[in-house]
């Protein structure tokens, strides 16, 4: 298990590469105040007022910083973090402890009174807090938001959900990401958590969309691929016949990764995009990125 002190040190190092010296001085002062203070008011004020000292520019990280981040915490991707949220996370990590969990009410209070950007910071740091299993309800609650950036802070580029959410909560995450048309390839650990219940719900969802004369996002087919049956094969075939180029590419990928014999047979009949998969230019992230560009 990673040590809080190591994480804090790392965050301070990468933040000081991106933020002005005066801002870092302010943060140092606040850390002293927060750790020395009785009660939480110093923490709450510093947490909010960090927006006066740090910008929403993304952290500048080189390859070795990113590798260090992954070593400290597997799946941790601070290259998506802003300097402001990094400063806020450093402050919060001062208030938590590995020894006991009596800081959780303080964290709750921060969540309950947070603005939009503060929520983004608090949720994106879920994989860094000690006692992560105690924050499962908080994560599920956060996923109920309709604020896209807050949802993204939990669902995308964050290793916490795949590691800690139970199946119903995980399935809600994926379904809601599809409803909100979020880039699914950025959900950490998505393939490992694919499950038959999710696949069944998605089959119903596709039928519902098709009945309404709407289509579905191409990345969705990734989650049906391991559970292909006759019904799903029928859907694949319909898309291969009638879909847009991107939809056909996505279904070709889903078939390619499936074990079902029917999929191999389908690919024999619709081989158009197989070459692209074999030469490495067609993969799920590429489908997701193309879809994002199309919208």
């Amino acid at each position: 298990m990673m040590l809080l002190a190591t994480i804090r040190q790392f965050l301070i190092k990468v933040l000081s590469q991106s933020a002005p010296r005066e801002s870092m001085n302010w943060l140092d002062e606040q850390v002293v105040k927060v750790t020395g203070a009785k009660g939480n008011m110093k923490l709450f004020l510093a947490f909010s007022q960090a927006s006066r000292y740090f910008s929403k520019e993304t952290l500048a990280l080189d390859e070795s910083d990113q590798a260090t981040a992954r070593e400290i915490r597997s799946g941790f991707q601070p290259s998506f973090w802003t300097t402001l949220q990094t400063a806020r996370t450093i402050l919060v990590l001062e208030a938590v402890s590995e020894k006991n969990d009596d800081w959780i009410p303080t964290l709750d209070k921060l969540f309950e009174s947070a603005d939009m950007h503060e929520l983004e910071a608090l949720y994106a740091a879920l994989p860094l807090y000690p006692f992560p299993e105690k924050l499962k309800k908080r994560a599920s609650e956060g996923l109920r938001t309709n604020i896209t950036s807050v949802f993204d802070a939990i669902a995308l580029n964050n290793p916490y959900p795949a590691e800690f959410l139970d199946e119903p909560a995980w399935n809600q995450l994926v379904l809601k990401a599809i409803f909100m048309q979020r880039p699914l390839y950025r959900i950490t650990g998505a393939d490992a958590r694919a499950n038959v219940n999710l696949a069944k719900t998605l089959v119903d969802y596709v039928h519902e969309r098709w009945s309404a004369g709407r289509n579905v996002m191409p990345e969705l087919w990734r989650f049906l691929s391991p559970f292909a049956d006759m019904e799903i094969l029928g859907m694949f075939e319909k898309v291969l016949k009638e879909g847009s180029k991107l939809e056909k590419e996505a279904v070709t990928l889903a078939c390619f990764h499936s074990e079902h014999a029917g999929c191999k047979e389908l690919l024999d009949r619709y081989p158009d995009y197989l070459a692209a998969i074999r030469e490495g230019s067609l993969y799920w992230a590429a489908v997701g990125e193309s879809y994002d560009l199309e919208r």
């Binding site: 927006s51 309950e112 604020i147």
Partner: protein, 303 residues
């Protein structure tokens, strides 16, 4: 022309209003914390309200290309529930330092009771502590005395008039408010406050300096386009463009910009308002929604 509506309770308005406001040229709004029609009985109701002002409502406004700011405070009406008011006072420090909070407000007097006076003074002290401007709500009843008293008490607590915006002025209060160095805001709200024609006459008489126009549109019969409509009327009636720009945009920016939380670049450097474009990698619309194409008279509602 760009407009700011520096006093509007958009939480109570529909998305149609947001669309119309954006079309009319409103680029930014300030939503003062106020009462909700129904008196609150629990401190949690205040907390969730303050959270929505810095959270959900800000997101909602952004979807329509409007930058949303707010003021945080305990309104004068609900200050009369003293036990609850004390709890709300403990909550305020959690919110006043947040991004986009441009003033303590709207505070002041309603019935001008002892309890209102007590919490008004406490919040003036809070504003001094955190170096934020103050938005004063002047009372509907006994307005002139209430307005003078609001300024007297503010000065007793040592606030600089340039940090204080006195709102809901009329012909009877404006002279003294301006003479004493305060910002004088006018609320264009049918029947109870000002009509736009009276507003035009005031700008003709007093000029544009430190005068601010707002709508205070809320859940009552009110008009979220009051600022652009009044600006158009000013133009029709021969008020110079520069004076319109100051009273319907520039003065509000300068007054509330003193918070350090509101700058022109917040809306100028934003991407063009095209709902099909993305904001910072996110689409501005909620998942699955398509951008609205146009209002027409067809009965077909898009799928």
């Amino acid at each position: 022309m760009m407009y700011i509506d520096p006093h509007i309770h958009v939480t109570s308005r529909t998305t149609d209003d947001y669309e119309a406001m954006q079309k009319a040229g409103i680029v930014a709004v300030i939503e003062p914390a106020f009462w909700l029609g129904q008196p609150r009985t629990k401190v949690g109701s205040f907390q969730d309200y303050f959270s929505s002002l810095v959270g959900w409502e800000r997101f909602r406004a952004k979807q329509f290309g409007i930058v949303h700011y707010c003021t945080i405070g305990l309104n004068s009406k609900e200050a009369n529930n003293e036990a609850l008011a004390e709890e709300v006072m403990e909550l305020l420090p959690l919110y006043v330092g947040k991004e986009g909070v441009v003033a303590i407000g709207e505070i002041g007097y309603d019935d001008q009771t002892a309890a209102e006076d007590r919490f008004y003074r406490l919040q003036l002290e809070l504003a001094k502590d955190v170096d934020l401007p103050v938005m004063i709500h002047t009372p509907h009843r006994d307005k002139k005395k209430g307005t003078v008293r609001s300024m007297d008490v503010s000065e007793e607590h040592g606030l600089d008039p340039k940090m204080v915006i006195v709102d809901h002025n009329n012909e009877e209060t404006v002279r003294e408010v301006l003479d004493r160095g305060y910002w004088a805001a006018f609320t264009i709200y049918p029947h109870t406050k000002m009509g736009s024609e009276r507003m035009v006459d005031i700008v003709k008489q007093y000029g544009p300096e430190r005068i601010i126009v707002d709508s205070a549109a809320d859940w009552g019969i009110s008009d979220p386009l009051a600022v652009p409509k009044t600006a158009a009327l000013m133009k029709e009636r021969g008020i110079p463009e520069e004076h319109i720009q100051l009273t319907c945009y520039g003065n509000a920016l300068k007054a509330y910009g003193q918070s350090g939380q509101m700058e022109e670049k917040d809306w100028l450097e934003k991407e063009p308002i095209d709902q099909t474009k993305k904001h910072g990698g996110n689409t501005v619309l909620r998942g699955g929604q398509k951008p609205r194409v146009d209002n027409d008279s067809s009965n077909i509602i898009e799928n």
